[in-house]
Amino acid sequence: MTLLRRTGLALLAPVLAIVVALAISALVITLIGENPFTAVRVMFDFGDTPSQQTQAMVVVLNRAVPLFLAGLAVSVAFRMGLFNIGVEGQYRLATILAAAVGAAVALPGPLHVLLIVVVAMAVGAIWAGIVALLKVTRGVSEVISSIMLNFIALGTASFLLTGPLRGSEPGASIITTADVPESGWFPGLNGVFSVLGLAEPRTELYGFLLVAVVVGVVVSVLIKRTRFGFDLRASGLSPSAATASGVDARGMVIKTMLISGAIAGLIGLPDLLGDQHNYGTEFTSGLGFLGIAVALLGRNTPVGIALGALLFGFLDRAAIPLQFADIPASVVTIIQGTIVLSVVIANEVARRLTRRQAERGNAVAPPSTGDGSTGGGQGPGGGPPPDDGPGSATGPGLTTAQPQGAGR
């Protein structure tokens, strides 16, 4: 195969996905009597002044950080065939308790932040640990228990907020916990913009971005490069083979859920430490569910999830300029759903085309490049995709890039 053709195949999936998503979105926009090209232009319009442009980037990034963490939390569990639909409850409960602890103590800066982070991770891990414990001791499906625990977390958070942890004065319309003192705030990253010679944006870029990056790298290394990660992936690919190889299946469920929950505990912290400084009735909800979409979009790899989170952040920001152009914001939600669907369909189509291509050539192509075609038969999660290490999922003829890898 020529290099050209190979690159073509590698780019096929993302291009196909984008074309399909664009086509459907364009149709939708045309239906309401607006010009799709205007819409596209508007979505990429980051503003006129340099400061508006950097501000737009900050908005996208600040939205992407929690989404990335949410996606990561979901994906860790997915990797071993567990469907942690309970990320939502895990982060809500973690955030309120972390906020309360953060407000209750006074410590020097870094320690204060560290304490809040540790509390959040611990609460998230414990809440997810209940799911794991019920699964290994009582065989309760993690899907049910985490759905139920989401509601229980929500109710508990509400009880705590209106009861023992209420920090706002009685008359206030929004009930919140007490504010975390300034020593517990996470410094912003706007300094970076001046260093790069860019205009200062209006709001702070969350410093928690750095934490997210570190967590992403750690998770990536953990899953791909360590023995533990191997055991985790093996359990996801074939629980029976993993057990026979000496992996303690129950222990693995517990450890994985603890990690997933600990990451989930971080989801609320960018907002909490970087902006809100308290948890209240208006604290952003639903990130756990979006995290599932982001994880799937990113095919459970940290880099993919980062791209998925950025895409969602970008689309989310676009909702405002679209409204200025008289295009309803619901178009963005439609585009998000369409993109998730078309990306996964495009992956599948590209996979088949690649195979057919390989059939004609003489390279040995794998029968599957992962996404969704695996499925360990346990849990409705299907299987997580295999390692995306160099060349692992593609045959010798196609080592440059996975057809699914790039471009989201």
Partner: protein, 424 residues
């Protein structure tokens, strides 16, 4: 002949297996009787009439039916091997379809509209999972996101400046109401059951409450849903079509090798699944008489949980939906009745403790006894629970029952696996 061991009867679901062993009918009766007596006793002791009032039971029915419909939807799809996380999205589409068709063509229109919109969601899921082999969870999640956008968009498109009313978040009202039925004499007119219930007698009034709750002012879709449960059983387990459909969820390669049209059946199953989830949405629209954005409130997920709770069986999922619906009704009716529930739990746990002790399982017995004592203390000391805590009564109940009952759940063997001909 090689070893053919005598095998126990197939599992009948977590709860029943644990509580009843393997001899159904009669034991189910005993169980129900026992529960009624227990509830009755708890009602008399605590004075919480809401515990067994017909009002609570009819609310429970209202809350259980949409869950049961969604879970039935899940049953069809998952029995055919397609995991359906997109039920919530299909339910959302169903509510919109019902609202849209309902304001124009009345309740029958709503019924059809909701089913068709739900089925459309199912069709998308089928195209993605069956034809394109997309991971089932991925597709389901995408459908949930997509559905939210689509209904908002359609509302914007069709209800802005609509003379009939409506807006971006709601439809105009149904132009006709679905009929509802009551048992003559017993629960309407002279309302003998109602009289009996009002007497607050031990046991008799409770049974009357139960019966009246289930027979008074029952909507047409409730009747349909209740019929759909045995009907689904008959279709799936007693017809050739059902056998073929289930074979796609157990071993599609085997089915394919016998000329069963696996893809087509999966399509049909997932579309039926969507239609049933859509009907669950229609039910909500019937209660409200309009479509309202956010009306489903996560019921699609709870329905999915009911399906798993019920071990992928019609009877089991109905029990799951019923349990959830009852607990939910109780918590919506009265926060104090929820406290009375603690007494019930204490009694049940005490029974479990005794039973486990008899079986020589000491840790379990002690554990159950401790929790029983805790529940009793809570009952005696707490007057009313805060709203936040009360709100998750049904979820906690479901989780407790699940973790106390032994888990012999068995999902269809090929559920969630992408099937591609020749690539198994």
């Amino acid at each position: 002949m090689s070893t053919a061991t005598t095998t126990p009867a197939p599992s009948r679901g977590a709860l029943t297996d644990r509580l009843l062993g393997r001899n159904p009918q009669r034991r189910v009766l005993y169980l129900l009787l026992g529960l009624v007596v227990l509830f009755s006793a708890v009602r008399v002791i605590s004075g919480e009439q809401a515990l067994t009032s017909s009002s609570t039971f009819s609310a429970a029915l209202l809350l259980a039916v949409p869950l049961a419909l969604v879970a039935l939807g899940g049953l069809f799809s998952e029995r055919a091997g397609v995991v359906n996380i997109g039920l919530e999205g299909m339910m959302i589409l169903g509510t919109w379809g019902a609202g849209w068709a309902g304001y124009q063509w009345g309740w029958t229109g709503a019924l059809i509209g909701g089913a068709v919109f739900g089925a459309a969601g199912g069709l998308v899921h089928a195209i993605a999972t069956v034809t394109f082999g997309v991971d089932h969870v991925v597709s389901g999640v995408a459908i949930n996101i997509l559905a939210e956008g689509v209904v908002r968009f359609l509302s914007e498109l069709l209800y802005t400046d609509n003379a009939a009313g409506g807006g971006v978040t709601q439809s105009p009202p149904l132009s006709s109401r679905p009929p509802s039925f009551s048992l003559p004499v017993l629960s309407s007119g002279p309302d003998l059951l109602g009289d009996l219930e009002g007497k607050h007698w031990f046991l008799l009034s409770d049974v009357a409450g139960l019966l009246r709750g289930l027979t008074n002012g029952v909507g047409v879709l409730t009747v349909l849903a209740v019929l759909l449960i045995p009907a689904s059983y008959l279709v799936l387990w007693r017809t050739a079509f059902g056998l073929r459909l289930r074979s796609c969820g157990e071993n599609p390669a085997a089915a394919d090798s016998l000329g069963v049209p696996v893809y087509r059946l999966k399509y049909i199953a997932v579309i039926i699944s969507g239609a049933l989830a859509g009907l669950g949405g229609v039910f909500l629209v019937f209660i409200a008489t309009i479509y309202r954005e956010g009306q489903t409130g996560g019921r699609g997920f709870i329905g999915l949980a009911a399906l798993i709770f019920g071990n992928w069986r019609p009877g089991g999922l109905a029990a799951g939906a019923g349990l959830f619906g009852f607990a939910d009704a109780l918590q919506l009716r009265s926060a104090t009745a929820v406290v009375a529930l603690l007494l019930l739990i204490a009694v049940l746990l005490a029974a479990v403790a005794v039973w486990q002790a008899l079986r020589g399982k000491r840790t379990q017995a002690v554990l159950a006894a401790v929790f029983a004592a805790a529940a009793l203390v809570a009952f005696l000391t707490v007057d009313e629970l805060p709203e936040g805590i009360v709100s998750f009564t049904p979820h906690l109940t479901t989780l407790l029952v699940l973790s106390l009952a032994s888990q012999r759940l068995r999902m269809p063997k090929a559920d969630g696996l992408v099937y591609r001909r020749g690539e198994h």
